[in-house]
């Protein structure tokens, strides 16, 4: 057994509640410890997924963002406080996440993702979690994940609604199957903090399930949440046979 993947006494206590879950157990916890996740964007979605992936014990989490904390972020980006306004999100997030779990490694990358640096950013990842706020960058990450065969968990929100789907390269539709071209971006529609909290948590759960080998529940399926009437819908989606990225 690889020493670094062994669980020590403190870890057994820390993760006690999830070690009791048969689907996770000691083997699953060791897998989490030995895993690498990349979270692209630490806004509303990324704050939520990063919190739960850190708490669950994902061994190495790379968080990527080029933005600083603004007052208007505070309604939903719960890793930041008033005293953080003007500071780099990734640096503040790293400190907060390390306070949640000092046994894991949080690597902050203050970078704007583009076609040139995206492969370096996702290098070595077992899973990439979407925390972005625009389609153009999502398509760049999607394309790189398809090429490197890394699962990519899409999440998006607006107002009281949100969506999640898990992209398993060459098996499920990728984002470009659905959006071959970048449509005109709509203006900001507003977001209530609980929408990214919920969607980011579902993304974190998908990520954990993939890492522990339990498989994804949303691969090839689109989950839609509507908080106005508190409904969840799940639809099957298929690959676009003419997709220029994954076909």
């Amino acid at each position: 057994m690889d020493d670094e993947k062994r669980l020590d006494r403190e870890e057994r206590i820390r993760y006690d509640r999830q070690l009791r879950i048969p689907e996770i157990g000691e083997e699953g916890q060791k897998r989490l410890k030995g895993s690498n996740a990349v979270i692209v964007g630490v806004g509303g979605l990324g704050c939520s997924s990063a919190t739960y992936l850190s708490a669950a014990g994902v061994g190495r989490i790379r968080i990527v963002d080029f933005d600083v904390v603004k007052r208007s972020d505070l309604n939903r980006q719960v890793l930041y406080g008033e005293e953080d306004i003007g500071k780099r999100k990734v640096i503040v997030a790293q400190k907060r996440l390390s306070r949640i779990n000092s046994k894991i490694e949080i690597v902050p990358l203050f970078k704007r993702i583009d076609e040139k640096n995206v492969f370096e950013i996702i290098e070595g990842a077992d899973v990439v979690v979407d925390g972005l706020d625009n389609l153009a960058t999502r398509l760049i990450v999607n394309s790189a994940c398809v090429r490197r065969r890394i699962p990519f968990i899409y999440g998006g929100v607006s107002r009281l609604r949100g969506m999640v789907t898990t992209i398993i390269p060459k098996e499920t539709p990728c984002l470009a199957c659905i959006f071959p071209n970048i449509p005109e971006e709509e203006g900001r529609m507003g977001v209530l903090g609980v929408s990214p909290a919920l969607i980011g948590s579902i993304q974190a759960l998908e990520c954990i399930k993939i890492i522990i080998g339990g498989g994804s529940s949303l691969a090839g399926r689109l989950l839609r949440f509507n908080g106005n009437d508190m409904k969840f819908y799940i639809h099957e989606i298929r690959r676009n046979e003419g997709c220029k990225i994954c076909s």
Binding site: G41, G43, G44, L45, G46, D130, G131, L132, D133, N134, L135, R138, G155, G156, V157, S158, R159, R161, G162, M163, P173, C177, I178, F179, P180, E185, E186, R188, M189, V191, P196, L222, R224, N226, K231, Y233, H235, E236, I237, R238, R239, N240, E241, G242
Partner: protein
């Protein structure tokens, strides 16, 4: 009125009483197969034809909601609470958003009109 529905990638394209035969030729493969749920027999051909009671955009959308509901699919472009288009959808008539139409959803549909019902995806984070 008679309408022909061609599910696109992530939207429904609808022609009202077209002059020519409607086929899927040149259209990409559908990514969301659940859009065919009320008409499984039409999957192969890829085109659905049906008669709609009424003659306005609202009549068409309400009828479609009813048909999808019977197939247990959530597809309700008109929000029953607001009686207006739901935030999850975008409606175009001949390429124009329904909000710029003089009579909005109560615009009468005419022969050859094309309606597109798009699902809105979420991009904010």
């Amino acid at each position: 009125m008679r309408v022909f529905i061609v599910p696109g990638l992530v939207e429904l394209r609808i022609k009202v009483d077209p002059k020519r035969e409607i086929t899927r030729e040149g259209l990409p493969y559908i990514v969301m197969p659940w859009m065919f749920a009320p008409w499984p027999e039409a999957r192969e051909k890829g085109v659905v034809s049906l008669d709609i009671k009424g003659d306005t955009l609202r009549d068409l959308l309400l009828e479609l909601s009813k048909i999808y509901k019977q197939a247990n699919v959530d597809f309700e472009p008109i929000n029953p609470k607001t009686n207006d288009i739901d935030f999850d959808y975008e409606i175009l008539l001949n390429g124009k958003r329904y909000v710029v139409l003089k009579k909005g959803l109560d615009t009468k549909l005419r022969r050859g009109n094309e309606i597109v019902i798009k699902m809105n995806w979420r991009w904010d984070g």
